[in-house]
Symmetry: D3
Subunit: 260 residues, 6 copies
């Protein structure tokens, strides 16, 4: 496939760079995902999602090798979790961007599947814009699929190994799912409720303070249908945004958002 750097030789990359304007960097995490998802879940989903986006943006985008590790200190009490320090992730992305900038690229989109990476990405994008003068973008894979999520996700508390994530996995990479171990989150009482994103105070807590089995939400209600709806809606939005940001030729079926 002529848009995956891992699958190309250097003469093929040279040819692709004649049209490519955007490098897409898939970023995941290696962390526990309860009893029903493999620990590589985030890395695999980010990569699969990035491939589909790049396919839509062909021949203007390339996918780099995925970054398989992220910021997962809050999961470290569960066996197998590996975490980077934020500064390590920033420097790793900095070197990837520097390298591709040497080959002439000016636009970078980090496709991130793990919420715990978002703050570090915000910091990183500011720093790299400043250091290199390139255009840095990042997106949480399916955060833009508001309609489908409203339709298919019923849990109040969701976002990790929940019906949304399992549905995405069933659609994008079903080998990640242990269908015979699907469990709803075993939520624990605790102060973490006071530190959730919709609360006035934020702060660090370990995931095992919140859930005994490492999940939240209701994984058994996941479906491939929900996964397809969520992923494709998210891809629609991302594709459109990137076409406008990169000044790519219009795509007949899509409309420009108002006010841009």
């Amino acid at each position: 496939m002529r848009y995956l750097l891992e699958e190309m030789t250097w003469p093929e990359v040279r040819e692709a760079l004649e049209s490519v304007k955007l490098a897409i960097i898939p970023l995941g995490a290696h962390e526990q995902h309860g009893p029903h998802l493999k620990e590589s879940c985030d890395a695999v989903l980010a990569e699969e999602f990035a491939k589909r986006l790049a396919e839509r943006l062909y021949p203007w985008a390339l996918v780099t090798p995925r970054v398989s590790f992220g910021i997962s200190l809050h999961h470290i009490h569960f066996p197998g979790t590996i975490t980077l320090r934020p500064e390590t992730l920033t420097q790793l992305l900095r070197d990837v961007v520097w390298s591709l900038h040497q080959h002439g690229l000016e636009n970078f989109l980090i496709i991130n599947s793990h919420t715990g990476n978002q703050s570090t990405l915000d910091v990183t994008c500011t720093s790299l814009t400043h250091e290199f003068g390139v255009n840095m973008y990042y997106a949480k894979t399916t955060a833009g699929a508001k309609d489908a999520i409203r339709k298919y996700v019923r849990s109040d508390l969701y976002g990790h190994s929940c019906e949304r994530e399992v549905s995405e996995a069933l659609y994008l990479a079903p080998h990640l799912v242990r269908q015979d171990h699907l469990e709803a989150g075993q939520i624990r009482p605790g102060h973490w409720r006071l530190l959730r994103p919709d609360q006035p105070v934020r702060g660090f807590y370990y995931y095992d303070e919140m859930t005994a089995n490492g999940c939240i939400g209701d994984a058994p209600s996941a479906s491939v249908e929900a996964g397809r709806a969520i992923v494709e809606e998210a891809l629609d939005h991302l594709e459109l945004s990137m076409r406008i940001l990169l000044g790519l030729p219009d795509d007949s079926e899509r409309r420009k958002p108002e006010g841009v």
Copy 2:
């Protein structure tokens, strides 16, 4: 005042530490705020807000000297703006926390008035929890005042030198406001719309790409009444959260949130 570190001698601090459980660190920014707010606006508002919160939490909280600089690279094209790099802010807060931890404190709440600092604070809190084993919290000053903001803030696009911020200033520190220069934001068209918090893609843009005068929203519609409503609602929520998080004795007028 016996809860402001800047106003105390060391014997007074020694005495206060017999009851104090929480250090409140006010964090602002030094950056342009349009033609109608002084550049110290964020730092002053954070400090004033922190003082009121500490008063409510007396004798369990102390306010440290404010940190007057934040992450403001996006404002650097406007004269006078000063920005820290994210790692500088992290290290500065790290040293403040280290020092107070030497004096026996275990709980830290950063009261932040500048949205541009939030990601760095998230990263910082993870790092410092990890390094010192302390409890790190942070809060955007009035983000919790959802009802009052819904009532008083009419602009679609607000959050900087807008009616919300000017109202807060009119209530907390009216000397910050140039009443005779109140202007609505002079919004410019551009790609920044595609990178706002509610959009699928995030990324860095300079504030002057978005607004010609450095403001967004509608500052002329600000009022001290709105400021009082916003600030006091936010303080109510924060006080309650911190009382629970710190295990402080109950406050008769307040109820515990459900499920905690």
Copy 3:
């Protein structure tokens, strides 16, 4: 006031930058000052002193927000003291200088009220001159007031919460002083005497090895008269030096030092 960055809007800064050649950065510390001075003493005195210097240099100088923290590890055993590591202070000042350099400034004067910062400032000035090619200066607030200090300061050992510092506070910011708690230093015997600035060997010691109450010198003999004499003599010298260094127009009452 049109020379205090904290008090200005960005259009006012833009206008001021038409004449301004110098940024004055007040630097203090947050540390114990015995039973008779608030812990913010150094930060407040640096800021007040910087304002008076800027007033004399108007319209060629601006005062930035003060840096309220310094190098105070030697005071950490006294409750409330907060210290930065030297590298943190260097990076903080680096970012302030970088930012103002973006706005066109080439000359920077750090007004420092805390002796414990002087070595870090020397290192910082070398580094920033090297990195940015700007002109870096620093001054210990009243070190230049040799005549007045000789006249008013009687203690052999002075320099912290002593009659000199309390006098300066009485003149510049009397609210810092607890008049009813003025105490002379309660000096302890110890090896610290062998490590004072006039000794052949230097080295680190904690302040509580030297003094039981955190003071040295004789605070009860302080007076506003002494403070005025010290501060104004120091300002005279600093103003003159800066006028020559910046190539400012002459000030009729002052003479150029010989040999320059």
Copy 4:
């Protein structure tokens, strides 16, 4: 497979950790490999090799996610190459080791397929032994296959996209090879000959100074037979070394894991 962290859930990791003594970290590079190998070659070969070694060491070893980037500055002039700075790779490995050390592991083997990483690994192992007190090992994948290399590799100059590497790829991951583009190295004259590992002087040179097509050696003479001989001889040596270093029971007692 119960020895690949990427394929496991956290309860499965927990169970595996009851016997596991060794974490194997596959490390590659993303760099040009001439017209006949994909740029992911090193990362894929390291991962495949690591899996086979872990299978032999079951149930005492686990394979972590692969690190897909290495030290490739010397290849940066060829399109698509991505390089880390040495300190970035060290910090990345440091965080992986730290995390797994939290889960109780004390022995770490980095399986490295890219010669350009060896010096950084040496430095990293010294640093991490020092910081964590763990046992750090690293191995160039097939460097130990001296007999097979002597038998099958005829080129004087080999080691990158040569008959050895292509043979390994044909055996371990044939999809990496563009069979219809196999080319011998197009060697250029130059000072690089004076800086090869067998020379008295070492130093940095870019790979395009040495070869026009990015290869050295004679890729067309590669064969799956050679690959099998090289890889299996290397695995034999490594397995034996690790069994001794870890104090494992003799090979004869080993059972293949079920379902592998």
Copy 5:
């Protein structure tokens, strides 16, 4: 000689460590010293001075290898000058101290011959005291020789390649001196006068702004007699201070080591 680490084998060091309480680290600089002193002057003088001090403190002190580079950015415009950045010198000294602390030493005295290093040493000593809990001392070689300097040094401006330094060299290491090129400083007018240590403002300036030939003072008036007086007075003071700081028995009991 049994007090110079460079001259000892490890069994000899082991034996010496039975009595040794202090490591003396000679620190110089590699920088221009005008037409009449070799560029290694500071490093050589620091080492010679340290040896004499260690001899006086036998068997309680050891001399480490000298650190031949210092902070010399202000001399960089003169050919041959080499400078460290302050953080490099700090880290280098940190590693030397860490290593010797592993061997059981708790007291460290840096004998420094170059004024430009003093601020970095102050910062370093604070940091290392903090990090390791050891006792850090530093001394400018002959700064304590106040009587002899008053007697022999006549220049108003002295301190680098002047009669004081040349005299010290004539006494300690005469091979450093080009007797046939002794020159007085060729002083240039300039703003540097306003930035000297006795002035109210400090700041960075290059040495070539001050002197055309790299010297100040009056080297031709140097003498071995002056050198002896200065060095021996300084040694007397330093020896006494260190004896008290280390709690050593009185001088009278001291015997000269055999074979020295």
Copy 6:
């Protein structure tokens, strides 16, 4: 001597720089060398070797002050050993190279006598080539003397305080050798054998795991004759390589400098 920076004044350096193309940086270590070599052995041998090489390359090369410390963590259990962390050595060399680059030099050869420094040098050379665009070379002093080593060195295990190193010392700096304490290595059994350079696995081990007296090989069989043969063969190779790399005129035209 007009090719040793330590022995020159700045006017002499200025003159030398008219022809000099290469800076030679001697790098050693301060570490135990058994009972028969002083701990400064590596530093002294590197310096002596560098001087001889510079003499051969006169007037095209200069020798800088030696770096007396290296990477010696594996020797730290022997009294007196001092080690740098790898990043400290890199930064130190970086500053030396930066400084000399300011004086116009573009080629740098690090003459290293300590195997434990080689990996760090490889990393350093890559980094500095990248940062400064200079030509970085490094050489293990006598590694190129393959014939002489084959002839004179009989031990299977050699490389530290062995007959090779003692022979070099007898030829280059006989004062380093305690002739009356020459001992063969007292080798201990252990896992270190599995981690030697010719083994498939590499890894960190402490030297005292390998040898009880800190030596390997057979020091008593050393001779000045062997030393001469090894050193001169190595110098021949290095001189030739550097002449080609620097594009110097043929050896025959070379004249010995006057007064050397």
